[in-house]
Every structure is written in structure tokens, then in C-alpha cells.
């Protein structure tokens, strides 16, 4: 199997369709391991990984940790305290200290956009961005594509509508880059105040009207309304947001019959998505989580260049 010719996974913007394909194909073999009774291979035995989370996370952290365990890597997880605190240890010092203990790969989630770039410049270890501010969340983008691929068999020429708080969403940014590289048509929808100020670089169309955006869509992805990142005054109330933009079966009735419903989690039920839709037959929200482990196993394997022992 090939390996990735890069030290770090910082975003999907800089990744080629070939690299994405390689990761998704590798993830497929990783999922086979997950379906075994004994979910453990010695591939990364003796390799060490640091999980450094400066923001809370359930899915991403658990899935990285499980991926490490299934691959027999040794790992340590640290909840960082925000380096914005003047007296706190800097990010650079934190990681350099752990690096000299033999860490070869750092998985980091951080509230500041670009922090994974900063880290990657400053350490020898590989860096996997597990979400940096409002910039990118590449492993989420990869697992979303993996899940769609699994259900639809392709990404080319699928229409994907991403709905909600695009402005603050690193998931949206990674998906916009990744899915378009893989040939999908992506549109975004939501109130104009929750769109990034300028979408020209992404080359996608933004709709203020959800019904219009989801017309004929093969995939509809709801995004979490990021209450913690709102700067105030972007929309009047949760009630109004839910009424005008929340995804319900009626609102997406113009989508294709076999539309897939996705959400990166954690969900605000009844706000950006109704429970009826989230728990309904078209929902693949839990499959997304399963894919997450496989994709992260694939990335660890490809980055740490595991010697093939299976």
C-alpha cells in the first residue's frame, strides 16, 4: 500500500483527489478490522501518539483513541488549557515537552484557526488537525465522504446541500474543499449572517432559502448551530432560526427520494434538525460516527507508515 507523502494532515484544501481517494480506500480495509471479533492489529505497535484537545470533544476524541487502540499504538490524551491565558504554558512548550518523550504524532483540537499550522511548523512529529477554530476539520470531512461513498458508491455528480451555520463551521470548510475535489456539486444554505463573508474562493453557491438549496439534493447535511462561537446579533432567536432554517421532512421534501441526511454532531435537536429527520430512515448520522474510526485508523496508518505485518 502507498503512503501519504506529507508530514501533517492540516486540511483538505491542500490535499489532492488522489490523496483523498487513497485515504478513503485505506479506510475501507480498516473498517474490515473493526468488523472482526477481535478488533486489534499490531500495525502500530511501539508507535506513540498524543491526543491534545483544547476544546471539548466526544466523538472525535473517542474515535481517535479507539483507532489508536485498534492499531496497537501507545497513546496519551491531554486536555489542554487555553494558551490565551497569559500565565499558561504555550502550545509550543506543551508539545515540545511531550515530543521529547517520544511522541511521533500529535492529534490536536484547538479553538484558534491556524493553530495546527503553527504546531506543524514547530514540531518534528506529524500533526493531525482534529479541528482548528473555524478553519478546517479534515478528518470529519474525510469521514463524511467515506460515509456517502459507502451508501452511494460515488461522490461524482452528487448534489450535496450543507445547511446552517457555515460561517463558524470548520466541518463545512473541509467538506467544501474535499467533496468538490471528489466531483460532487456542493451548495450551502442558511441566513446570510451565518455565511462566511466571501465564498468566492470556495466556488460554491449560497442560498438564503433552504428549500431552494436542497432541491434535488442527494445529500443534505445539517450543521450544528455553534452557540459558543456566535458573536451576537447574527440571528434573532433559536426559535426563529429553527422555524426558518431548521431541517424537517417538509422542508427537504424537494430533495431526491433517496436523500441521505447527515449531521457531524453534536446535534441541537429541534434547532437545526428535527428528531424526526435525525432518527428517520434516511439518516446516516450514526454511520458517520462508525466511519470516523475507520478513517482515523487509515490516517494513522498512512502517516506513521506502519510496516505491514498483517
Amino acid at each position: 500500500m502507498q503512503t501519504l507523502r506529507r508530514k501533517d494532515i492540516l486540511g483538505l484544501e491542500e490535499m489532492s483527489a488522489e490523496e483523498i481517494t487513497l485515504i478513503l480506500e485505506t479506510a475501507r480495509s480498516m473498517r474490515e478490522i473493526m468488523q472482526r471479533k477481535i478488533k486489534k492489529v499490531p500495525t502500530l505497535r511501539g508507535r506513540s501518539v498524543l491526543n491534545l484537545f483544547y476544546e471539548p470533544s466526544t466523538r472525535t476524541k473517542a474515535s481517535f483513541e479507539l483507532a489508536q487502540k485498534y492499531m496497537s499504538a501507545d497513546s496519551v490524551s491531554v486536555a489542554g488549557t487555553s494558551s490565551s491565558l497569559v500565565k499558561g504554558e504555550t502550545l509550543k512548550d506543551t508539545v515540545r515537552n511531550v515530543e521529547v518523550m517520544g511522541i511521533e504524532c500529535v492529534i490536536m483540537r484547538h479553538p484558534a484557526s491556524g493553530s495546527s499550522h503553527y504546531l506543524a511548523h514547530n514540531v518534528e512529529a506529524s500533526v493531525i488537525n482534529a479541528g482548528d477554530g473555524m478553519h478546517e476539520h479534515p478528518t470529519q470531512g474525510l469521514l463524511d465522504m467515506f460515509t456517502i461513498l459507502d451508501k452511494k458508491g460515488r461522490l461524482e455528480e452528487l448534489k450535496v446541500a450543507i445547511v446552517g451555520d457555515i460561517r463558524h463551521s470548520r466541518v463545512a470548510r473541509s467538506n467544501l474543499w474535499g467533496m468538490q475535489k471528489m466531483g460532487a456539486e456542493v451548495v450551502v444554505a442558511g441566513p446570510p449572517t451565518l455565511m462566511p463573508p466571501d465564498l468566492t474562493a470556495f466556488g460554491v453557491k449560497a442560498f438564503p432559502n433552504v428549500e431552494e438549496a436542497v432541491e434535488n439534493a442527494d445529500v443534505v447535511m445539517a450543521l450544528r448551530l455553534q452557540k459558543e462561537r456566535q458573536e451576537g446579533g447574527l440571528f434573532p432567536s433559536l426559535r426563529e432560526y429553527s422555524e426558518l432554517y431548521g431541517l424537517t421532512p417538509q422542508r427537504i421534501s424537494g430533495a431526491k427520494e433517496d436523500v441521505l441526511i447527515m449531521h457531524p454532531g453534536p446535534m441541537n435537536r429541534g434547532v437545526e434538525i428535527s428528531s424526526e429527520l435525525a432518527d428517520g430512515p434516511r439518516s446516516i448520522i450514526l454511520e458517520q460516527v462508525t466511519s470516523g474510526v475507520a478513517v482515523r485508523m487509515a490516517l494513522l496508518y498512512l502517516l506513521l507508515g506502519g510496516t505491514k505485518e498483517e
Binding site: E13, S83, S84, T90, L91, K92, H110, P111, A112, S113, G114, S115, H117, Y118, H121, D132, G133, M134, H135, E136, R170, R173, P196, P197, D198, L199, T200, A201, F202, E231
Partner: protein, 434 residues
């Protein structure tokens, strides 16, 4: 002090619209004569300036010397040495120190230390007490103590009434108000220029409108009050348009632009991989803005080039982009950067007399200070540059205590070779004489 004769240089003096070969005789700290074929007396020291550019000493009207309070970033002496090395004979130091220069005693402190510094350091006082934008600082008493203008630079004056009163009061004591134009609500949380690049990078944006709305307000206020208003670090195309119109209407407004806004765009943030040395306020704007700034500079809408030298210690900048302070240090390379633009021919209408006007004559006029001219009787503040000399930007070798520049590693054609203050050579071929 021995008399000094600068022989056979290309003398450029915008104050007298002179551009030609001449000798300059200096004694007693003053320019005695600017003529061809001046003969040195036996004790006269001679500088052979053949092939070199001789100009009135450059004046950087917008620097942060961090003294008092942040001497680990810069102090008056290191800042003045950086200025001398960069070909500046005078700088005007902003008031956002700690304590804030909002009081005659702090102005006096800067003034006293300036007397022992390598170049002239003019203090600028705060416009409002503590830079808080609430109460006027003692402009009159600070002026008596040596302040040459007043600004809350680093922060806008949010309250329109305070700004109106500041302009009106300043007009009564004939002093200059320098405005940092930014609507702090529109700019709130912003890290870089708002546009396609900030959208991709996921960094909160500072829209051009944050500067333009505030500038428009202050121009309207100036109509109401009279007096003199100078706009610091203009960064957007819209601001250039507003200024052009205001000048057309005869308002007494002047403006400056920084080399980094003339030379870089928001792409630098992305291309550098979020390097914090590209984080500056106002932010590096779009290519359209950058082009408009050049147009404004060339057509006279923008009067001056100033570095907005904002030194920060490496430790302060060596953090995540969100957490780094704003600012670029530029005293040592402002002239080389501008000379390089000239020698490269990238800007077709750019001439050396225009550069000298923007970096010497205009700042002197705006601040109402000596200098900016080679007229006999003027103080002998002179900068000599060599277009044939090139340098690679190396902040490690700077005299400034800080090296936060996005230009590190750039090769530039054109460098200062002499800085002369009051007839004393303070820098010769890159080496400071003290």
C-alpha cells in the same frame, strides 16, 4: 565639530523642487550652502557622494518605541538606533506606552531621553486620558512639554462628541490630531482583512468598512470644527476615495500609508501559513486596496509614508494567530523597501523626488517640525542612499529589539549609507557611530 562637505551627490530636495548634482556644505549643525563645486577648507571632512542620492533627513511620523513600559520590545535608544540604521533622522513616537503619554511628565521623560538618542525623537501625546476615549488629555500642557501632535493610535476614538471636541480644542492651540480610523464594533474580534482569504482561513475578519465609516465620520466632524486632521495608516480603496473627495473640498486633512500596506495583501497571511508577523492592524488588505493606495500616494491623496513600526518580542508573536499581538516592525527597512519598489520599476510613475517628499518633506510639514528641506540655514539632517547597494532583510541583525517583519529574507535593491543628524554622522555604511 568639523565642517562636512558632501561632494557630487544627486541632491533631491522637494522643498525647493531641486533634483540635480550639487555639493552640500555643513557646519555648526546647519546646512550652509548647496552649490556646485564647493571647495573644502583643510579641516573639512569630505563625503564622496558621487553616484549616491542625497536627501533631506527622512522622518518617520508614526512609530511605537514602547518606552516607557514595554522596554523589552523596544526603548527610545534602540528605536532611535533602528531609525538611524534605516536612514531616518527623526521619528514621532506614539503615546500607547505604559504609563500612557497623556501627561506632560511622560512627554518630558521621552523628551529627556530623546536628547541622548541617535536621532530626533518627537513625542506624540495621547488625545484622551489613558487612551480611553472619554476625557480630553491636557493637550496644551503636553504641547508645551514638546508633544508635536496628539493621537490615541492603536485605538479609535469611539465617541463622536469626544472626537469633535478634540478636533475643535486642538484647532484652538494649533496642533495636529492624528486619527486611527476603526469602528471597534465592526472590527471586533477581527484578526485579518475580511474577504475571501479570511473566509478560507476561518479567521474573523476586519471589514474595510470598519475603517471607512470612521474616516467618513471624522471628515464630517472636521468640516464642523476646522483644525488639522491627519489619518494614520490608511489601508483601503474606500478610504483613499473619501480622502480624495475631502481634499477636493479643501478640508485640512492629510494621510499616511505604510510600506506593508503598499507591498503586501491578505494573501500573505495564507501564504505564510498563518505567520503571526503578517498580523497587523489595520490588516493587510486586498490587491485592489493595495493598488488604490499606490494611486493615492502618486496623485497626492496620501501625503506620507510611515512605518507604523510596532515592535513585538519574539515570544509575544510565537503563539497561535488568534493570540498574537498586532504589529509589524519596519524602521530599518522602510527606505530599502521603497527604494526597491523604485529600482524594480514595478510602479511606473514612482520617482525618487516623490519618495523623498513622502518620507521627509511632507512629514515635516504635517508635524510642523524642522527638517524636510536642504535649504541653507536648515538643520543639517541628511540621508544618503545608494541604489546600487542591495541587502537581504535579516531581522537578527537589526538594531531594534524586535524583528517581527513579514519581509524577512527578501532581497532589496537600494539602501541608506549615511544618516546625518545636526551635521553629525550617526550611521555610515550600515554601522552606527556610537
Amino acid at each position: 565639530m568639523k565642517p562636512l562637505l558632501i561632494k557630487e551627490g544627486r541632491v533631491i530636495d522637494p522643498s525647493r523642487k531641486f533634483d540635480g548634482q550639487a555639493d552640500i556644505l555643513i557646519s555648526e549643525g546647519k546646512i550652509q550652502a548647496v552649490e556646485k563645486n564647493l571647495k573644502p577648507s583643510p579641516e573639512t571632512e569630505v563625503i564622496d557622494a558621487a553616484g549616491l542620492i542625497v536627501m533631506p533627513g527622512l522622518i518617520d511620523m508614526h512609530v511605537h518605541l514602547r518606552d516607557p513600559g514595554y522596554e523589552y520590545k523596544e526603548d527610545i535608544f534602540s528605536g532611535a538606533r533602528a531609525a538611524a540604521a534605516g536612514g531616518f533622522t527623526a521619528v514621532a513616537a506614539m503615546a500607547n506606552t505604559d504609563p500612557v503619554s497623556d501627561d506632560p511628565s511622560v512627554i518630558g521623560y521621552i523628551h529627556d531621553r530623546a536628547a541622548r538618542a541617535a536621532v530626533r525623537v518627537y513625542p506624540l501625546g495621547a488625545l484622551t486620558k489613558g487612551l480611553e476615549g472619554k476625557e480630553l488629555a491636557e493637550l496644551g500642557r503636553m504641547k508645551q512639554a514638546g508633544a508635536v501632535g496628539f493621537s490615541d493610535d492603536g485605538k479609535p476614538v469611539v465617541n463622536g462628541t469626544i472626537m469633535r471636541n478634540a478636533l475643535l480644542y486642538a484647532s484652538g492651540i494649533d496642533t495636529l490630531v492624528i486619527a486611527h480610523e476603526e469602528d471597534s464594533h465592526l472590527a471586533s474580534g477581527g484578526m485579518m482583512h475580511e474577504g475571501p482569504v479570511s473566509s478560507v482561513l476561518g479567521l474573523r475578519g476586519i471589514p474595510s468598512a470598519a475603517e471607512e465609516t470612521m474616516l467618513a465620520r471624522d471628515l464630517m466632524l472636521l468640516k464642523l470644527t476646522g483644525g488639522r486632521l491627519h489619518i494614520a495608516h490608511v489601508s483601503t480603496a474606500g478610504s483613499v476615495d473619501l480622502l480624495r473627495r475631502a481634499k477636493g473640498e479643501g478640508l485640512a486633512v492629510t494621510a499616511e500609508v505604510t510600506p506593508h500596506h503598499l507591498l503586501l495583501t491578505d494573501r500573505a497571511v495564507k501564504n505564510s501559513g498563518y505567520h503571526t508577523n503578517t498580523k497587523v492592524n489595520p490588516p493587510l488588505r486586498s490587491e485592489h486596496d493595495r493598488q488604490s493606495l499606490w494611486e493615492g500616494l502618486l496623485d497626492g491623496t496620501i501625503d506620507a509614508i510611515a512605518s507604523d513600526h510596532a515592535p513585538h518580542h519574539a515570544d509575544d508573536k510565537d503563539v497561535e494567530f488568534d493570540f498574537a499581538p498586532f504589529g509589524i516592525a519596519g524602521l530599518e527597512i522602510t527606505l530599502p523597501l521603497m527604494l526597491d519598489e523604485f529600482t524594480s520599476g514595478r510602479i511606473k510613475k514612482l520617482t525618487l523626488p516623490l519618495l523623498v517628499e513622502k518620507m521627509s518633506t511632507s512629514p515635516a510639514t504635517i508635524l510642523g517640525i524642522a527638517g524636510g528641506s536642504l535649504r541653507p540655514g536648515s538643520p543639517a539632517d541628511i540621508t544618503i542612499a545608494d541604489l546600487a547597494q542591495s541587502l537581504t532583510v535579516n531581522p537578527e541583525a537589526w538594531h531594534s529589539k524586535s524583528g517581527n517583519t513579514p519581509f524577512a529574507g527578501r532581497r532589496l535593491a537600494g539602501a541608506p549609507v549615511y544618516t546625518i543628524v545636526s551635521g553629525m554622522v550617526v550611521m555610515k555604511e550600515g554601522v552606527l557611530t556610537e
